[in-house]
Amino acid sequence: MAKSALLKSSLAKKYWMAFTGLFLCVFLVGHLAGNLQLLVSGEGARDQFNEYALFMTTNPVVRILSIVTFVSILFHAIDGVILTINNRKARPQGYVSFRPSTNSTWSSRNMGILGTVILAFIVIHLVNFWGEMKFGGLDNTMYTTANGDEVKDLYSLTIMTFQDPEWGLVWAFGYLIAMIAIAFHLYHGFGSGFQSLGLNHPQYNSIVRKIGVAFAIIVPLLFAIIPFYIYFVLETI
């Protein structure tokens, strides 16, 4: 009983959802810290970012973390789809008049749609950058850093993607849309994850809520600034 309870029950699905969701929040912070190095300009920038990318692809701890991240996204997405389908089935006949806006936020009612947008983004994002890095044609553009490390030039790939005269802005706006989806997803999700894990205490609820709202605004905003900065501000390479 106890074992199946932690895998199959309604509450188990929520624990996994919350656990993976909150882990992905931590992942976002790490990812953002890396991306923010793209705001640095000058020749040193190329070295710094590429050395960082090299570290991220070779360090064993980071490798484990990246596997955990992939598994989390997979679990979170599959679990999210199962939950959304089950929840729809729980009310086969809908209301003629239903006014949920009087009692809940839009974000909280559209986590599935927001998640789907995020998932689409993650797939495109992985094909564009991770896939290129791992399997793609970057081999042609090997670059030697000041330290003498020979690396795939992820820096130039990123800058050229967003500085492309035809597609740069399109990519940037696509990126912006995804970040808006993440913002709304986390506007509800951050606090919701704590509640799902049973972490609710009258003394701390409002703090968790405030941190969640701040997180949902600041993190996606910082992510979203970068491609526009690269397009409009950074000198072209």
């Binding site: 029950s9 309604s10 699905k13 929840n87 003629v96 008049s97 009692n103």
Partner: protein, 247 residues
């Protein structure tokens, strides 16, 4: 005041059902919502038509028998009241009011506006009790000291009247607020601790079996609950269940 009522009519559990429109005149603003429906029904009976069937019992907001989704919200637009305590002064002359049964797979319609809420009963039976020896030597409950905060929280959880508004309001038709209130009212008290592990596992299992949805923490239930049962209870149930599953 004069009102247009759009009411869900359904002959029996198997019939398809649909919205029918009725005009009602001279509604007194001091009437309760159910009294307004009584007046409508008197008119229907006089005309030889089937009266609208709806649930009610105490009509003083304590039994949880009345239900109704009114203009898209369980127990109507007012907060902290049941339909029997909702007054017509909350509406305006000329308003159109849509009246539907609570909707959930686990709450099948029996007739018109009455749904079968016995799923709640079965969840309660699965573990919503404490086993007490009542063979004449029952201990005085007050001899067991209980922290004031815990006693208050348990009492607050126990004010749930099982009306089902939480399920009706939830976009997922989830029964977590109800189940968690019942889990909490015992889990918080020393008498309930003894069977706490089995209780939460069994009640959640029954809840899942009945076909209720899951919780997305939208908070709609708490806002629509006529008794203001708090989401804290759901978090407590989540903790209790986690504890019970790992040990």
């Amino acid at each position: 005041m004069n009102l247009t009522l759009k009411i869900w009519r359904q002959k029996d559990a198997k019939a398809k059902g649909g919205i029918q429109t009725y005009q009602i005149a001279d509604v007194d603003p001091d009437m309760s919502f159910l009294e307004m429906l009584d007046v409508l029904n008197e008119g229907l009976v006089e005309k030889g038509e089937e009266p609208v069937v709806f649930d009610h019992d105490c009509r003083e907001g304590i039994c949880g028998t009345c239900s109704l989704q009114i203009n898209g919200e369980p127990h109507g637009p007012d907060r902290g009241v049941t339909t029997c305590q909702l007054h017509m002064r909350k509406f305006k002359d000329g308003d159109t009011i849509v009246i539907e049964p609570f909707r959930a797979k686990a709450f099948p319609v029996i007739k018109d506006l009455i749904v079968d809420r016995s799923a709640f009963e079965r969840i309660q039976q699965a573990g919503g009790y404490v086993s007490v020896n009542t063979s004449g030597n029952t201990q005085d409950a007050n001899s067991i000291p209980i922290e004031k905060e815990k006693a208050d929280a348990a009492f607050f959880a126990a004010t749930c009247i099982q009306c089902g508004a939480c399920v009706a309001a939830c976009k997922n038709a989830s029964a977590m607020l109800f189940t968690s209130a019942k889990v909490s009212q015992y889990a918080l008290l020393p008498q309930g601790k003894v069977e706490a592990t089995k209780r939460v596992l069994d009640m959640v299992e029954q809840m899942d079996k009945e076909g209720f949805g899951n919780c997305t923490n939208t908070g709609a239930c708490e806002i629509e609950c006529p008794k203001g049962i708090s989401l804290e209870n759901i978090a407590r149930m989540n903790r209790e269940y986690l504890k019970a599953s790992v040990v």
